[in-house]
Subunit: 227 residues, 2 copies
């Protein structure tokens, strides 16, 4: 009778998830302890195990709360654009924006904790713990397939394995951008104030990714060199 996933959450569960989101982002999954976390949430220590079962299950719940709706939104946005195009193939730029839009809009949600979550998410892609990567992987699986098919339609001349690589690069660019904190800037001169304006950031990211996706083939360059 595990109906918990279906029915809406009570206040305690929400408070735990919010606090967990913040603590996991600040200290990592192992670094954030149940005691700190429950104290921050203002609930009893045992509440996590009662409502979620274990710390690992809590981690999964933290991701599931935001990531599942986010990927639904991504696919919906993609299909909206496809419907609007009425059969004509989408541009790569449009597909890219359909994918990154949802995550970037979440950055602006400072109050609701969305921004906190995007940073956490950016890090989770490369988390050392295998279960976490697997969890993320399976949550993205259907959306990834869907978008890959869309790219194939948009760029039929691009070899499949090259496309896979470039999707990989694009994903890395997005993940790193989401994970980056205001506090540390590897490159001096970055302005923190416009860092999280979603519209500007979407334009910048889409321009970079789209150009990278349309890059001349590396193999072609090699042949030119050899010839």
């Amino acid at each position: 009778m595990n109906l918990r996933a279906i029915k809406p959450m009570n206040e305690t569960q929400t408070r735990i998830l919010d606090a967990a989101e913040e603590q996991f982002m600040q200290h990592g999954f192992e670094g954030a302890s149940m005691r700190m976390l429950t104290a921050k949430a203002g609930v009893n220590l045992a509440a996590v195990n009662y409502h979620f079962g274990s710390k690992d299950a809590l981690i999964e719940a933290v991701f599931r709360r935001r990531l599942d709706p986010m990927n639904v939104e991504r696919i919906a946005e993609l299909e909206r654009r496809e419907k609007e195009a009425e059969g004509r193939p989408l541009t790569a730029d449009a597909i890219i924006r359909a994918f990154i839009g949802a995550s970037l809009r979440m950055i602006e949600d400072t109050r609701g904790g969305g921004r906190t979550f995007t940073r956490l998410l950016g890090r989770a892609y490369t988390d050392p713990a295998k279960p976490i990567r697997q969890l993320i992987g399976q949550m993205y699986a259907t959306a990834m397939e869907r978008f890959k098919a869309a790219f194939v339609r948009a760029l039929p001349e691009l070899p499949k394995d090259e496309l896979v690589w470039r999707m990989h690069f694009m994903f890395g660019t997005l993940a790193y951008t989401l994970a980056a904190t205001d506090t540390v800037q590897l490159i001096a001169g970055a302005k923190p104030e416009d860092r999280y304006d979603a519209r500007v950031l979407e334009d910048r990211l889409a321009a970079f990714m789209s150009a990278g996706l349309h890059a001349p083939l590396a193999g072609a360059i090699h042949v030119k060199k050899a010839a």
Copy 2:
């Protein structure tokens, strides 16, 4: 008398560093315990504290052993290309290759643990622990300034803040590519076998990054749309 950084390491220290590199990569900095780590290295539990002082100091030593020489190599490669160009400005592609070459060559070092380290490094950029990010940040500081100046010379027409963003994106692409494991592929269809051929990977990465760096300005796109 802290001459330890200068003089060559003994076998025990090397074994600890090798084991730490592997354990930190597999389980994270908090997840890898001193007991597991020293057992893997075949040394006594107290050896880490004796030779390095603390676990945190060990983490720093793990990075310093590889990252310092790597950034020296990067700058040397950049200056080699600049000397070769005899005053003519370098192409952005050449600068990019000077930067990513060192990390990609390390990927092929399966025996010496270089490949292990690159994965660890890719993750460290976005580690939740602030001291670690600061450590990485200061280790990259001089190289980053140097490469930024090189990019400014190569693309004088590109606005500075746009360049900073695109360097940020490029760094993310590289970091994510380094951190990615064989086990998890978000995008189905990737071929693991050619994943770590450094020459091919350098071509692919350089093509993507270079195109992204030369992308038309996002602002210009916006104006076009509005007009």
